[in-house]
């Protein structure tokens, strides 16, 4: 697509496991525009994290396999780059912030040494230059007394502070694209609010595009411009945020929005989606949501629906939107 920062086209990722082949991402396509924040929403096992890692070629192959499609970043095809070329891009042009900072950051090195490592490897800075830049970055992300905290270890920081460190590391080489994989899920709600605000101000300040992965619809409602909803390895709905919340077109999205407890109304019972996610090693034929769908028709049990434009810029993969045959 013209002028997009990131283009994912018909991407399918399979994992060859002892117990069989698992298709974790199934023919997924979407783009993230320049300066845009795109929210990729889904529950566990939907394939959203695998999709994010696939963008930076972080999926080990084997057992992973890019079965089809590709990722286009700034006009370059990620999967056609050499190892050296992808290493150039990783960390400097595309950066990633992960969910659990305690697991993502190295516990045996100081925070300064880890961020410094990134700076020296990617930008070729000297030790002294890296140290100065690191202190600047720590200050930028709101870590108090950065000149002394630079020599602290990860465990000496609280959860929110660790996430700021991750963000500092991600921003260190002035990336144009940031991938945030559940960056606030492990954090308390007040800390989450501060981190979301920090990410938002960094995006604005450095004019970055953001791919925000989460299962939290509340976060997506405020942090993102456009949303993609994933279910069991498929992208089932795609569109502008307000449109999706106001007019969800896929039964899964509708079900999800109906099932969450709200802050304002207190109904006695919630309306959950019946049943549970299918076994991905042995998924049902046709639309994977069909066993749980109140609108399932015969065709849903046979044919996997494709994404169709149901309103300008709003797509859903559901047979309810098939054009009637004359």
């Amino acid at each position: 697509m013209q002028d997009s920062a990131l283009d994912i086209e018909n991407l399918s990722i399979k994992f060859h496991l002892k117990r069989g082949v698992l298709t974790a991402v199934n023919n997924v396509s979407f783009h993230v525009g320049k300066g845009e924040t795109f929210g990729l929403v889904g529950e566990s096992g939907s394939g959203k994290s695998v999709t994010a890692r696939a963008i930076m070629r972080l999926i080990p192959t084997p057992p992973g396999e890019v079965a089809s499609g590709g990722v286009n970043f700034g006009g370059r095809s990620i999967y056609d780059l050499s190892d050296a070329e992808i290493r150039e891009i990783r960390g400097s042009e595309i950066a990633m912030v992960f969910q659990e900072p305690m697991s993502a950051l190295n516990p045996v090195f100081t925070v300064g040494s880890q961020i410094g490592d990134v700076l020296r490897t990617n930008l070729g800075l000297s030790k002294a230059e890296a140290r100065e830049r690191t202190i600047e970055l720590l200050s930028l992300v709101g870590i108090p007394s950065p000149a002394s905290r630079i020599d602290s270890y990860v465990h000496e920081f609280s959860g929110g502070m660790r996430q700021r460190v991750m963000l500092a590391m991600a921003l260190s080489c002035d990336p144009t694209f940031l991938i945030a994989d559940e960056p606030t899920t492990a954090l308390d709600v007040t800390i989450q609010a501060t981190i979301l605000e920090l990410i938002s101000s960094m995006i604005d300040r450095f004019d970055m595009s953001l791919l925000f992965i989460t299962h939290n619809l509340g976060v997506v409602a405020h942090a993102c411009d456009r949303i993609g909803v994933m279910y069991a390895s498929h992208l089932v709905e795609l569109g502008e945020k307000r449109e999706i919340f106001a007019n969800p077109q896929h039964p899964y999205t509708v079900g999800l929005l109906n099932s969450i407890p709200r802050m304002d109304t207190q109904s006695k019972y919630l309306t959950p989606i019946r049943g549970s996610v299918c076994n991905m090693m042995d998924p049902p034929k046709g639309c994977k949501f069909n066993p749980r769908c109140d609108h399932a028709m015969d065709i849903c049990r046979q044919v996997t629906p494709e994404m169709k434009e149901v309103a300008p810029g709003h797509f859903a993969a559901c047979h309810l939107h098939d054009q009637p045959t004359v």
């Binding site: 529950e43 007040t190 509340g218 919340f245 207190q266």
Partner: protein, 325 residues
């Protein structure tokens, strides 16, 4: 309002850090006040939501009530009986009436036991299983209550999803017909759509068996949905309690207000989450003698650090611990 089933008074749990002899001499000993002088009641048939962020002491409170951890001081009474005075045998009997459902469905079930064994065990321990057949009947009954079936009875926990495991954990809690069920973040580890199913199950079971719940959670919208009354905790203290409607539409304590403001609502038309508190969550280690929020509070005055805030009744049954409102 009904009589109180559970009464907690001045409950305190302090942990000593670096309490060894040498550290004491060196003056390095510190006190972590995980739960510091809290009092509340849970009435028969109601759900009290205990809400707060990490480190506030809510999970510890759940464990103190059942004496999984021994309190440092204070009183815990079940229907007027002093739980802390019970010996081991009496506690054993008392525990039939208070059961816990834990947060992590992956670590709360013994991976080496079948569902039959897991659900049968509480029946055996409390003498509720006359014979093998009776026990199996009862286990099947329990499974049905939580939406599982006979095909599940001889399986192992790893064969179930997170939501199903939580159902098993709930069945286990119900096995002995308790009056009080303490849920320690029982839906936090579950996917959004599964959460809805489990929350409904909690409601259904409460109506069916007239259960009383102490529901510990950090997710405000979950607490809003399931609770009749709410108690808000911050760094070992209860800062506000009241009926759920009151607390959510008219929060009084600066911390409760900040918590409400920080929750992102799943509606782009509602205001975005905002921060009204600066700084990080205070530490429960060697806390100030006054209010724990004093360093972050927008309406703090100098006396807040030294003087414990008094409990004020702002509206019927709506109490707030603050000097300045």
């Amino acid at each position: 309002m009904n009589a109180p089933l559970l009464e907690v008074e001045n409950l305190t749990k302090h942990f000593t850090l670096n309490g060894d002899f040498v550290s004491r001499i060196a003056g390095k000993t510190q006190t972590l006040k995980a739960v510091d002088d809290i009092s509340f009641k849970v009435y028969e048939g109601e759900t009290l939501g205990l809400v707060g962020e990490s480190g506030c002491g809510k999970s510890t409170t759940g464990r103190l009530i059942t004496r999984l951890i021994e309190p440092t001081s204070g009183d815990v009474r079940i229907r007027g009986e002093d739980l802390l005075a019970f010996d081991n045998n009496q506690m054993q009997t008392a525990r039939r009436n208070m059961q816990l459902v834990f947060q992590d469905p992956y670590s709360s079930l013994n991976p080496r036991k079948t569902i039959m064994q897991i659900l049968g065990r509480p029946l055996e321990v409390h003498g509720l299983a006359p014979d093998w057949h009776g026990k199996r009947e009862r286990v099947l009954e329990l499974l049905n209550l939580v939406g599982l079936g006979s095909e599940h009875i001889d399986r192992y926990p790893h064969e179930f999803s997170g939501g199903q495991r939580q159902r098993i954990a709930i069945a286990r809690a119900l096995a002995v017909n308790p009056d009080l069920v303490i849920g320690d973040e029982p839906v936090s580890a579950l996917d959004v759509s599964v959460q809805a199913q489990i929350l409904n199950l909690f409601r259904e079971l409460q109506e069916k068996f007239k259960l009383t719940y102490l529901f510990i959670a950090h997710d405000l919208s979950v607490v809003r949905h399931i609770s009749d009354r709410v108690a808000v905790m911050y760094v070992g203290k209860i800062v506000e309690t009241g009926p759920v409607e009151e607390i959510f539409s008219r929060p009084q304590h600066p911390y409760t207000k900040a918590l409400m403001d920080a929750v992102p609502e799943a509606d782009p038309n509602k205001p975005p989450p905002k921060l009204t508190l600066k700084g990080e969550i205070a530490t429960p280690i060697n806390p100030p003698s006054g209010c724990r929020l004093c360093k972050r509070c927008p309406i703090a005055t100098p006396n807040c650090e030294t003087d414990p805030p008094p409990l004020k009744e702002m509206a019927p049954n709506h109490f707030v611990a603050c000097h300045n409102i």
